[in-house]
């Protein structure tokens, strides 16, 4: 009877139900069919489905694509280390071996996230658009200035694409280097976010601690070193430090807002965990393509709070920001904006991201995969 109730709950969840297991009372517990060799899904899988149904638009749960997504979760195993497939409490309680049965509603979010991330990574493989045909770079316009944008990697990426979109591809005239900057805490968050978009797996807290222990800045945002390197190539007067605001039109003939495409701390944490799974599933080239063209677009709306520097490293960030301001001031580069803005504003912000926030993002991303499939 208990097994029949469990299968009835599975059927309830497969049709968009959201009732927790402990509250579930089937109308006719014997009505739920299960084939003889079917494995009863584990508590983690079932709770992820319930959370998916809760996060979905109720009208959408009747959609066959939602049903397909649910079935995918029910048949999945969580990747990596953590709880095994846990039996549902109240079904086979006389089992003497194996992990103890679990109430799905009491499972930690971290375990639900692990399962969700595994399914998301597997779905990303299915949604892989394949390699893009190689594009020839257009001929440079000889009378335009050659340029390089370096510094905060998220702002630099965005600025480069904005310049190209505005028709300002690098030309052949003598080059300028644009060192784009923000306050140091934000630059660190941007650099970590940029790196998780490029397949790395260290957590934000570990990563910041790692640089603080070495008393070094990550190379991309060690702006004094970056600017000095470019000064050696193009001359000190052609290295422009841009702090916030916009790229003035006087430099390249068009004004461009200096802004990043950040992800929230929760989305960054999710991406990091997806990387952990994709590293086992695919080779680096395909991994990067899946991030660029499937996973990051699924997170396009996730623009919440950036990861904040943990308390243990806040003093280090303030000290390194002071040092950076001093080094750039003394070097005498043309500066646009205030160097003082490199000092962290309003403290260093809250420390980021737990499993709960990342799980919410992961559930939204899973639901969004339905529309990608629809768009094809």
């Amino acid at each position: 009877m208990n097994t029949a109730r469990a299968w009835a709950w599975v059927a309830h969840l497969r049709t968009g139900g959201t009732t927790p297991w402990q509250e579930f009372a089937p109308g006719d517990p014997d009505s739920a069919a299960s084939s003889a060799d079917a494995l009863l899904p584990g508590a983690i899988q079932l709770e992820v489905v319930r959370r998916l149904n809760l996060a979905a638009d109720p009208a959408g749960t009747a959609d066959p694509r939602h049903r397909a997504l649910v079935d995918r979760v029910l048949a999945a195993s969580a990747p990596g280390r953590g709880q095994p497939d846990l039996p549902l409490v109240g079904v086979l309680d006389d089992t003497r071996f194996g992990p103890p049965p679990a109430d799905p509603a009491a499972l930690p979010d971290d375990e639900l996230l692990r399962m969700t991330v595994g399914v998301l990574a597997e779905l990303a493989l299915d949604l892989d658009p394949g390699p893009e045909p190689e594009q020839r770079s257009p001929l440079p316009v000889p009378w335009r200035r050659k340029w390089a944008v370096v510094g905060d990697p998220l702002i630099a990426d965005r600025t480069r694409s904005d310049l190209v979109a505005a028709g300002r591809r690098p030309g052949l005239r003598s080059p300028v280097a644009l060192v784009v900057a923000d306050d140091l805490a934000a630059m660190l968050a941007d650099t970590w976010t940029w790196r998780v978009r490029h397949r790395v797996t260290p957590s934000w807290a570990w990563w910041v601690g790692h640089w603080a222990r070495r008393d070094q800045l990550p190379p991309r945002v060690d702006l004094a070193a970056v600017a000095a390197r470019w000064a050696g190539r193009v001359g000190r007067e052609r290295v422009h430090v841009l702090v916030g605001g916009e790229l003035p039109a006087s430099l390249l003939g068009t004004a461009v807002d200096l802004r990043a495409d950040p992800l929230s701390a929760d989305a960054g944490e999710l991406l990091r965990r997806v990387n952990e799974v994709l590293r086992v599933l695919v080779r680096p080239e395909r991994h990067q393509r899946l991030l660029d063209r499937v996973v990051v677009p699924l997170l396009a709306g996730e623009r919440g709070t950036l990861p904040g520097v943990p308390e243990a490293q806040q003093e280090w960030v303030r000290r390194r920001a002071d040092r950076l301001v001093g080094e750039l001031s003394r070097a005498g580069y043309p500066v646009h904006g205030e160097l003082a803005s490199l000092r962290p504003r309003n403290g260093c912000g809250p420390t980021a991201a737990g499993a709960t926030g990342a799980l919410d993002v992961a559930l939204r991303a899973l639901l969004a995969t339905r529309t990608i499939e629809e768009a094809r």
């Binding site: 071996f97 799974v277 590293r279 599933l281 680096p284």
Partner: protein, 404 residues
């Protein structure tokens, strides 16, 4: 044509698995000639396949595991004869992963057997703690015991421990879809048994008896005593933040633990405190009764899972004898100094080779024609049109000159 058969050896750790896998790998050509496939191109090939099957990160090694299970399973399906797959971390696979693994090697059309080698818990528990310590963990022994004895098994450590050690559950998962006669339990002999007995049991189970195999082991997973394990745990606490896993593995795990400290055989051995021992003995009795009832093929004797009485006093690795730890530390320092000296000599030798290479390059660079050509190519490669021109030139030349 010989019947197609697959033997899946899925655990447990610390039961001679490294030795077995080493023998199988080194003799794989000979075995292939006898109709036995051990599908692995490198000694850890099947470990990588297991990581792939279970989507398991392993200190960066997982990036080498992409597609490894499917590639191995394809070789198994294509082989007419007996295939052997062996890795102890397979013990933790979930039912879904197991179903995928069985289907990928041909189940139910192919005759699939599951093999589990098992050893008594009183030896397995301290061995697992030591294995944790050799993987950078800093957990005290009493904490380890308390986590694995918690019925909730809430921590990752407890989950992993029972995943690879709870024999009835592992066999439930792996053998659930097989006839009990195709599930083989190989017991590890008690201490003091002939040293070849375990191998004889493996050979019988895997059909290797009488084959002229080279049984000289190159790889094994030797054990350390109480002061040595306590020392490595303290080393972990001191260096974990500063020594990357890629350096930890050769320097601490291999050089110190395996090649130095495990050779100190006179120190007290790890064991269980009396209350934990009583608990483990109760559990072992329950397991043995269960396994007998299930009717699996037993190679050895299930009674070997029941620990023998011991009169050796318990030595607590959380409070080791400082003098013994100091002696172990001296051996460790000596090994590191010898290794440091060896690396300095290698560095000096490489420095000299590099110096000679620089001199040779400088002589080549001094030729004026080379310098002119280099300047031209460098200048062209900075420009799009220049790169295209160079591409045309290289194609016309018929081969790439990039390497020149």
């Amino acid at each position: 044509m010989s019947p197609r058969r697959v033997l899946l050896h899925v655990g447990t750790p610390k039961t001679g698995t490294s030795y077995l896998q080493d023998v199988l790998f080194r003799n794989r050509d000979l075995l292939a000639g006898k109709g036995i496939l051990y599908p692995a191109d490198r000694f850890d090939g099947q470990f990588l396949a297991a990581l792939d099957l279970m989507r398991l990160p392993w200190g960066g090694l997982e990036t080498e595991a992409v597609g490894a299970w499917d590639a191995m399973a394809a070789k198994v399906r294509a082989f007419d004869g007996t295939s052997i797959i062996s890795h102890e971390i397979l013990a933790t696979a979930s039912r879904t992963q197991i179903r995928r693994a069985l289907e990928s090697v041909g189940h139910p059309g192919t005759e699939v057997h599951v093999v589990l080698s098992v050893r008594d818990l009183v030896r397995q528990i301290p061995a697992e703690w030591q294995e944790n310590v050799k993987h950078r963990r800093t957990l005290r022994y009493d904490r380890f015991l308390s986590e694995i004895r918690d019925p909730e098994r809430a921590t990752r450590l407890a989950t992993w421990f029972w995943g690879v050690q709870e024999v009835p559950d592992i066999l439930d998962r792996w053998g659930g879809e097989l006839d009990p006669s195709r599930v083989h339990v190989v017991t590890v002999p008690r201490p003091g048994a002939p040293s070849t007995l375990l191998w004889e049991r493996f050979a019988e189970t895997f059909g290797l008896t009488g084959l002229p195999l080279d049984l000289e082991a190159e790889r094994s997973n030797p054990s350390m005593g109480v002061p040595e394990t306590a020392l490595v745990r303290r080393i972990n606490r001191a260096v974990n933040k500063d020594v990357e896993p890629a350096h930890y593995r050769p320097l601490v795990r291999e050089l110190l633990a395996h090649n130095t400290l495990s050779r100190r055989t006179g120190s007290p051995r790890l064991s269980l405190p009396p209350d934990a021992r009583a608990w483990a003995e109760d559990l072992a009795r329950e397991w043995v009764a269960e396994l007998r009832a299930r009717g699996y093929d037993v190679v050895g004797d299930l009674d070997e899972l029941l620990p023998e009485p011991s009169d050796a006093p318990y030595v607590d690795p959380d409070r080791p004898n400082p003098r013994q730890v100091n002696q172990a530390a001296l051996d460790a320092i000596k090994a590191l100094l010898v290794e440091g000296a060896r690396q300095r000599e290698t560095e000096e030798q490489l420095r000299e080779e590099l110096h000679q290479a620089h001199l040779a390059l400088e002589r080549a660079y001094l030729r004026p024609t080379y310098r002119a050509r280099e300047k031209l190519v460098r200048s062209a490669e900075e420009r799009g049109w220049g790169r295209r021109l160079l591409g045309v030139y290289r194609r016309a030349r018929g081969r790439s000159s990039r390497a020149a």
